[in-house]
């Protein structure tokens, strides 16, 4: 491993330790690394905004390109320039008199976002609604689906299509959960009936089951990352680079 790579790894380790030091308490070293971090991030954004976004999405399309051998090139669509004044209106936010104009580019961005909400609504939620309509009457009253490994394919196909009692009960629980939690999110009705209050309360409890399950599985992700950091410090840096 060459010197540069070692130096790079060492810098990474130092930065990691610096940021971790906040776990003990806020200190000068953390504050230093934090400001380097913020500075690098801002610098990178200023670089990327032109190199990765505006150049590709705006400038190149506006000015076009000259063809090289074989390809005819692309024309420049000059009207893209009209976006620039709209964008500049955003800077009016600091003007005392014309600050309202900064709402125009904001309005355009929000308009596009809003229009897309209507456009994507069904594609996202339709299949979810469909999947929520589960059969709750069993077609086969035995409790569990039998082991299919011993069956002929024809017999297995029939078994596969049957709804067994356990499945029906599960589906019923599923349906109840979805309705109960949905009822928890009714805001504008005063739920007076005993039935609705029970639904509401069980909705809140079932919601907690959902949140607990998320917590349980998300913890894995967090630990995976800290494990990877330790791998970086102790295996990649210390074991493989420093004491190799």
């Amino acid at each position: 491993m060459d010197g540069y790579t070692k130096l790079k790894l060492a810098a990474g380790v130092l930065a990691t330790v610096g940021l971790y030091s906040v776990l003990y308490r806020e200190n000068k070293f953390y504050r230093f690394v934090e400001h380097v971090f913020l500075g690098l991030a801002a610098g990178f954004t200023v670089f990327a905004v032109w190199a990765e976004t505006l150049k590709v999405q705006w400038w190149d399309k506006m000015t076009g390109s000259q063809g090289e051998a074989g390809s005819p090139g692309t024309p420049g669509f000059w009207a893209y320039i009209l976006l620039l004044p709209i964008g500049l209106m955003g800077y009016m936010v600091f003007s005392k008199k014309h600050n309202w104009m900064s709402r125009i580019p904001i309005g355009v961005i929000l308009g596009f976002w809003s229009g897309q909400q209507i456009q994507i609504f069904w594609n996202k939620w339709g299949p979810q609604l469909n999947d929520s309509m589960k059969p709750i009457i069993p077609t086969n009253w035995s409790l569990f689906r039998p082991d299919m490994s011993q069956m002929t394919p024809e017999a297995a196909a029939v078994v596969q299509n049957d709804i067994y009692l356990s499945q029906a009960i599960n589906n019923l629980i599923f349906t109840f959960t979805i309705l109960a939690v949905l009822s928890y999110f009714f805001f504008s009705f005063d739920l007076k009936s005993k039935f609705m209050q029970t639904m509401n309360k069980s909705g809140r409890w079932l919601l907690m089951v959902g949140l607990g399950a998320i917590f349980g599985s998300t913890v894995m992700a967090r630990f995976a990352l800290v494990i990877d950091r330790m791998f970086f410090i102790f295996v990649e840096f210390l074991q493989r680079a420093l004491f190799a």
Binding site: V22, E26, Y30, R31, E34, F37, L38, L40, A41, A42, F44, T45, P72, G73, T74, P75, G90, V93, N99, I106, S114, Q117, I118, F121, W122, N123, G126, L129, N130, S132, M133, P135, I136, I137, P138, T139, V158, N161, D162, I163, N171, T175, I178, L179, L182, S183, F185, F186, F187, S188, F189, D190, L191, L207, L211, G212, I214, F215, T218, R222
Partner: protein
């Protein structure tokens, strides 16, 4: 194309829900008196949090999430405008940290507006709203630093939060701050529930502006959303019963082949796809034959490749 087969149902439902929301907005603007909204604990805590910050003489920090400029950020800033209104009256200093320049522009405009309307523009600190970074974790490091250095007494984390949510919540907790949090990202909600004092769950976040302002348009829209939820619940219940009935008590006698119904030799058990709702939701794609259209061709522009060259080497 999108209306093909049963595809029109999706369009119809979307338009219907939109129409219902607009109708309830219209109706509530015409109605008198205060409309009912159920209690949302997280929002009642706003005054308590600001009161404590005022007592301790420490600032209130607000973070509208790390997403770009969309309704979530706008909603967060709407709530923060309300928070700022109270803070302005008590001259409590605020810090609003943004992770997106466009969100920063909106927040700057809105917050100044709040001070102006309250007639307290001299209390407005133009550095109160600041852009920290648009990189997720640089932002997290920066905001955590601000929280710890400024020793904030109250923290509001509302908006689209991702992994960094817990960095904020635990940093604020280490400072002993009262925290009100809410995220539309359901995966972050449990962390907020574990680490914060008050949490807005799910679309309580979207209900917040209606709850705080009681503006008829917002309340009307909320009622419309509730109707849509009732529609969902009814649809699910009805669909569930119909599907159950069809799968348990009716048999499949015909199957669809090349757009034709063909009789089966023996009746089969229906699968989910054979039920009425299964048919409606599972939109069939048109066959290649049906997709074929002959249209006259135009001349390619000089920069376009001629059709025969397309895809070739």
């Amino acid at each position: 194309m999108q209306y093909y087969d049963s595809g029109w149902v999706g369009v119809l439902v979307t338009v219907l829900i939109v129409a219902v929301i607009l109708a309830t907005i219209y109706r509530s603007t015409k109605m008198e008196g205060n409309l009912f909204i159920r209690r949302i604990a997280g929002l009642n805590a706003i005054d308590e949090a600001i009161g404590r910050a005022t007592e301790m003489g420490r600032p209130v920090v607000m973070v509208p999430g790390i997403g770009g400029l969309d309704a979530i950020a706008v909603q967060a800033i709407n709530i923060f405008a309300k928070v700022t209104q109270t803070a302005a009256k008590f001259a409590t200093p605020i810090k609003l940290c943004c992770a997106d320049a466009a969100v920063y522009a909106v927040a700057q405009e809105t917050i100044r507006d709040v001070y102006q309307r309250e007639g307290l523009i001299e209390r407005f600190d133009s550095e109160a709203v600041q852009f920290v970074s648009d990189r997720q974790f640089a932002f997290a490091a920066g905001v955590a630093g601000i929280i710890r250095r400024e020793k904030v007494a109250a923290a509001f984390f509302l908006g689209a939060f991702f992994a960094e949510s817990l960095i904020f919540a635990e940093s604020a907790n280490a400072m002993g701050a009262i925290q009100v949090a809410g995220s539309t990202q359901t995966t972050q909600t449990p962390f907020f529930v574990a680490a914060c004092d008050y949490v807005l769950i799910g679309d309580e976040f979207y209900a917040a502006s209606a709850y705080l302002t009681r503006h008829p348009i917002l309340v009307g829209s909320l009622i419309g959303q509730d109707y849509a939820k009732i529609f969902y619940a009814a649809l699910i219940t009805f669909g569930c019963l119909l599907t159950s009935y069809q799968m348990a008590f009716t048999m499949k006698t015909h199957k669809r082949e090349n757009r034709q119904w063909v009789a089966l030799e023996a009746p089969e058990r229906k699968t989910k796809k054979d039920t009425t709702f299964g048919y409606i939701f599972d939109v069939e794609s048109p066959t290649e034959e049906e997709m074929k259209v002959e249209r006259p061709q135009r001349q390619p522009n000089w920069w376009e490749q001629a059709p025969e060259a397309e895809g070739g080497n």
